[in-house]
Symmetry: C2
Subunit: 230 residues, 2 copies
């Protein structure tokens, strides 16, 4: 029995939900608002961040990086050809480079600011930092997104999937990040054909379906968000 503490619009949480679905692992989701710094949650993860995974009453596995490796170590062999981590150390390094890029660089420069300014701050009370989005942060994120899309588009054109011939953790991490920006209509697909074709393939996987039906109260998704032929 797995429990995942997550936020529906935390890109790293979405990444782990995709991984769990691809590995066919059943999970109970517990929605957490990390900014509330709930005592019970801080006892699980002193960093106060989502995602956190717990297996039965076992120790909490904190953060997307540790969770991804844990799921691969405990379940990767069982899924055979659908394993999301390649076998060869060099191919593994390439997968991890791109996961790191997605969860830290793409998140730090683009998706994190979008989610914080346009989603989290709408949910937070003013006393916890809620309020109107900071327009300088949004401007910077909008200026940065093109560089990331072009680089991933270059990989998508050169390879079958982002890290190589097979679907890996890298595709799910990048897609999870972009899905949050896409909900907000912030992804400039029109100028990035290769990325768009790659995203359409990831988006039509059964593992993606639960994310596409997720809705934030008072902020409907961009029109093409759940459309598989966007």
């Amino acid at each position: 029995m797995l429990t995942l503490y997550h936020h529906p619009f935390s890109p790293a949480s979405r990444f782990i939900r995709l991984v769990l679905a691809e590995y066919g692992a059943k999970v109970e989701l517990v929605a957490e608002r990390p900014w509330e710094r709930r005592r019970g949650f801080l006892m699980l993860n002193a960093a106060g961040t989502v995602p956190v995974l717990q297996e039965y009453e076992g120790p909490p596995i904190c953060g997307a990086y540790a969770i991804m490796e844990y799921l691969d170590e405990t379940r990767g062999y069982a899924v055979g050809d659908r394993r999301l981590m390649p076998d060869h150390p060099e191919a593994r390094a390439e997968t991890r480079r791109l996961v790191d890029w997605a969860l830290n660089k793409l998140d730090g420069e683009v998706v994190g600011p979008f989610v914080r300014e346009r989603i989290y701050k709408q949910e937070m009370p003013a006393s916890m930092g809620g309020g109107s989005p900071d327009s300088a942060s949004l401007r910077a994120a909008r200026a940065n997104i093109g560089h990331h899309l072009r680089y991933f588009g270059y990989l998508a054109a050169a390879r079958n999937w982002l890290a190589g011939e097979k679907l890996t953790f890298a595709d799910l991490a990048v897609a999870a990040e972009l899905s949050c920006a896409d909900y907000l209509g912030e992804v400039t697909w029109a100028t990035e054909e290769n990325m768009k074709a790659w995203y359409a393939r990831v988006k039509s996987r059964p593992s993606f379906r639960p994310l596409l039906s997720e809705k934030m109260l008072g902020m409907p998704p961009a029109p093409s968000y759940a459309d598989l032929d966007f």
Copy 2:
């Protein structure tokens, strides 16, 4: 033959130098100034960040996370009891949680700002963002460091090493980060006895010696930086 592209005061590069030394791997160091965005370096790592490891003419391994896992996968078994990654998936997850904390949270909230404002900006020409440190960034980093030291100090008091009974990647990642702040005299050891005792143990390992002799032109280290009885 291993080549490491690094910066002497990049905490993530220092972490990998410690790992290489602990694993007894010989390496040729190539100093890189990431802000110059040298074309040959961007061809190795499109993210433009250090560290990058290359084995012979093999593909570049980019980023401390991918490098650490790569070194463990290719050399971990050979070092036997000195392996820096535990065997059990739960203990591995705990190690990775703390490495992630060091390289992302501690770096993002504390050490990254110190290094950028007080070291990198002194080396950069004004046209690339060099100049005087931003005092608001330094103030924030100084306000944050205590929280991190207290949390790691709590772990150091409860366990033999940060992630458990044995030295792991977690100790080296946290120590590498703190060593950069310590060079600048920014670590408030006096109030953190447990952390200080832990750091003294890591600092006296032979793998640490090369870091302690590293000096930045025009900015000598804080007096206790290389002192093993600080």
